[in-house]
Amino acid sequence: MKKRTITLTAYFFLLFVPIYWMVITSLKTDVEILQSFTLFPQQITFENYREIFTSEVWRSSFFNSIAYVLLNVVMTLTAAIPAAYAFSRWKFRGDHHLFFWLLTNRMAPAAVFMVPFTELYYMLNIFDTHIAVALAHCLFNLPLTIWILEGFMSGIPKEIDETAFVDGYRFPRFFRSIFLPLIAPGIGVGAFFCFTFSWVELILAKALTLTEAKPVVVTLTVGIGAEGVKWGLLASAGVLTIIPGILVVYFVRNYMAKGFALGRV
Amino acid sequence: MARIELKSLAHRYDSSRKGKSGFSIEDLNIAWEDGTANALLGPSGCGKTTLLNIISGLITPTSGSVLFDDAIVNDRPTRDRHIAQVFQFPVVYDTMTVFDNLAFPLRNQKNGEIEIESRVAEIMELLELTPLAKTKAGHLNPAEKQIVSLGRGIVRKDTVAVLLDEPLTVIDPILKLDLRRKLRQVQQELKLTMIYVTHDQHEALTFADHVTIVRDGSIVQSATPEELFLRPKTPFVGYFIGSPGMNTLRCESTIDGFKIVGSSLAIANRAGNLSGVLDLGIRPEFVVTSPEEMPGWNRLKIRAIEHAGAYQVLTLESGALEIKARVGDDTATSEGDFVWVDFPSDKTNLYVDGELAIL
């Protein structure tokens, strides 16, 4: 028991040292970052955060990120729920092949699709919009979510569907008032993964935006300018980008524990 | 095999745990003789499983002692107690073959491979598992898995006792009978000390020589199946054992017998003048009925009849009182009729303050 606690403490320590370092760097002055090696800021400064909050570019890029991530979560779930239902309930020609083909898209490296995406979205006139990024992220989020939800739905006996139809439920009403509540934990887990992968993605988000929909992850790389790297500014933007993630994990932690235990995640 | 004894045993779950308060087992004394088949019978949540886990050492009791052949084993770890345990859900090592499953405990004891082989072969023969020797245990059906986990328990020659925790729960009804027969046969051939936990009275009464009834963590009665049937120590046992359970009639002592509360029924010929709360217990099997009037018998109305193949169960009423009687299928009656009823005194038990009174 004791050995376990020590191992665990050591692991969490190593896990959080780099994050701690970023947090304290964000509170240091540029001079201190470059000239000394301190485990705690000698002089705490909020200058970096002030700069971010007063900058129109930073604010709008935060908003852009949240917009396309939420759009992606909604799009993915809307498509994935019926698809997963079809895979879990019916056998049809080519179902296994289709399922595997969907999964292969999760494997597709974003770098491969960078150029064709750009050309396609120019053509469709949605380049540099939130929709473009949200659509592109379906590439990897949709297959994963279908996979997760299929696992959850297969765990629910078909008899439930049949009983409901015998009881005179029409399909839409059955789906909404009986089936969806049953797989709520699965939807929670799926949404969590969609949020995660869309929030952290960089390559496509960068390739598909210029100014209008530029996400915060891209704005961050811009901080590396010609006049030298502004480490403090980068670090504070990094801290701010982590916060939504932490909030999400915090709120879904119980769902996660339940979902992880139920489905095959 | 060994004799197993529990002395003034008590167990309480962590008191900080919400929802559970007080003792789950309280001041319990019992002994199971070497080489006997025993059952622990009681409703779900009465502490049966806790008791088993205390014997095997998976749980340390709060107080009291566990004795194997008169030696206290409280401090002996599970692996040194040499207890075999069969759980409710079959537990096998999925990735191993049936042979390797049975050899596993022996290998853990660092026995020689030749010795292991002959012993495992012997056990497989006994349990009729030989054709499955090379099958992966993960591919067996639940009944076969349950036999394998029994085999793993008895393969060691130093096994002290075999504990079975509701072992038939997940088995198909058809295979249940077969598996129970096999258990009983193995028990007799190897002279095993077996303790079989169940909430199913039928399983307990057909399997064991000796049945212990547990309720709320304490023993209500420990006796042979016959004794439990004829002389249940409390109205609870009487009701719990038998189908349908014993009739319990609250009564008052009168000069020439008993008067049953809530009705005009009276029973003569009993030693009078008793104090305390009195109950009469009579099994439906022993209630005698007659369609014609008999002197000294009581007249009751048939409210309902349930046919159960070779017999039928009558629900008789008189005022607020309700009595079940089990009569032969040839008895011609119909609902709404009146019958005359007698309670033979040698088959009727008297309970004073909830305890069987010797008359």
């Binding site: 376990r4 191992t7 665990l8 692991y11 896990l15 780099p18 994050i19 370092w21 970023m22 090696f37 994935a80 019926p82 019916w90 049809f92 289709l98 595997f100 969907l102 999760r106 494997m107 597709a108 490296p109 974003a110 770098a111 491969v112 960078m114 150029v115 064709p116 590439l139 279908i146 952290v200 993605e201 960089l202 390559i203 992850v217 961050l220 670090a235 990094g238 982590i242 939504p244 993630g245 932490i246 994990v249 915090y250 932690r253 996660m256 524990a257 992880f260 095959r264 995640v265 | 345990q85 759980f87 537990v91 999925d94 990735t95 596993f104 405990p105 853990n108 004891q109 993960g138 793993r152």
Partner: protein, 285 residues
């Protein structure tokens, strides 16, 4: 009635054709042409594929990539299981542990880049400063070994929590009686792990293996931000290689290498996928 499944799949098929199928066709199309900015594409058949296969740089990147993914899996899977075994099974520690484990997973790739640049940068980083105390001159922009293992370290840091979460979910699903039976049978700690825990974890671990294999094969932002693929080509992994070619507008060449790259991932994942299906069938039996 026979069309019903397809009706349910329609939204997915539409989305996937926009975000996967059409772009993939475009990539295949590029791969069959030689494309120069300003002039019309010229059809060259499989010439690009031949060029890619005989390109030592491509082969180098592929081998480097396989080495990297293999090492990442060999470290992350056992480490993840070990940590999961240490986690509390119930009580107030569970929620906290899950939250802590979730944090690294939700850090955007380029913030991971920032975190680790602050940590490894030769002028301000923590690692070079500590290692210089023991006389080691750590430098990711000069030393190829340092660079490679730094990227590996970042991947392990970033993604082991995912394996921990999966393994933990698997552990929670193992009924307690299996451990009691092993104890009764006198099994040692190692044997209990080997014959109870590991077989029960197999499906969930195969899944973790699959996800981690696919994702580690796509590693892109970390080398881009930390080492720029260098020094030399020491950290030029597949994605970076392809992206470089695409940025240089060698679209035919980039397309062909993308397709080969995708083929390798799919084949290897397919093998793992079959493995999962088999083990889950065994479970249902």
């Amino acid at each position: 009635m026979r069309q019903r499944p397809w009706l349910f799949l329609l939204p997915t098929l539409i989305l996937m054709s926009i975000s996967a199928f059409i772009p993939l066709m475009a990539v295949i199309n590029y791969s069959l042409h030689t494309i120069f900015a300003g002039s019309a594409p010229e059809f060259v058949g499989l010439q690009n594929y031949a060029d890619v296969m005989s390109d030592a740089q491509f082969r180098g990147a592929l081998i480097r990539q396989l080495t990297f993914s293999l090492m990442a899996l060999l470290i992350e899977i056992p480490l993840g299981v070990a940590i999961a075994l240490c986690l509390p099974r119930k009580g107030s520690g569970v929620g906290l542990s899950l939250v802590l484990l979730g944090v690294p997973l939700l850090i955007p790739y380029n913030v991971v880049g920032i975190v680790w640049r602050l940590f490894t940068q030769s002028d301000i980083g923590v690692i070079p400063r500590i290692l210089s105390l023991v006389g080691y001159d750590y430098n990711v922009s000069l030393n190829a070994t340092d660079a490679f293992f730094t990227i590996l370290l970042v991947d392990v840091w970033h993604w082991t929590p995912l394996v921990v979460l999966l393994a933990y979910a698997g552990l929670q699903a193992i009924p307690q009686t299996f451990y009691q039976a092993a104890e009764v049978d006198g099994a040692s700690t190692w044997k209990t792990f080997r014959y109870v825990t590991l077989p029960k974890l197999r499906p969930v671990l195969t899944l973790g293996l699959l996800i981690r294999f696919m994702d580690s094969f796509k590693v892109y932002s970390e080398p881009l931000l930390l080492t720029g693929g260098g020094p030399g080509n020491a950290t030029t992994f597949m994605s970076l290689f392809v992206a470089r070619k695409a940025e240089a507008y060698e679209l035919g060449y980039a397309g062909a290498s993308s397709i080969i790259y995708l083929y390798v991932v799919i084949v290897m994942s397919y093998i793992l996928f079959q493995f999962i299906n088999r083990s889950s069938e065994e479970r249902h039996r």
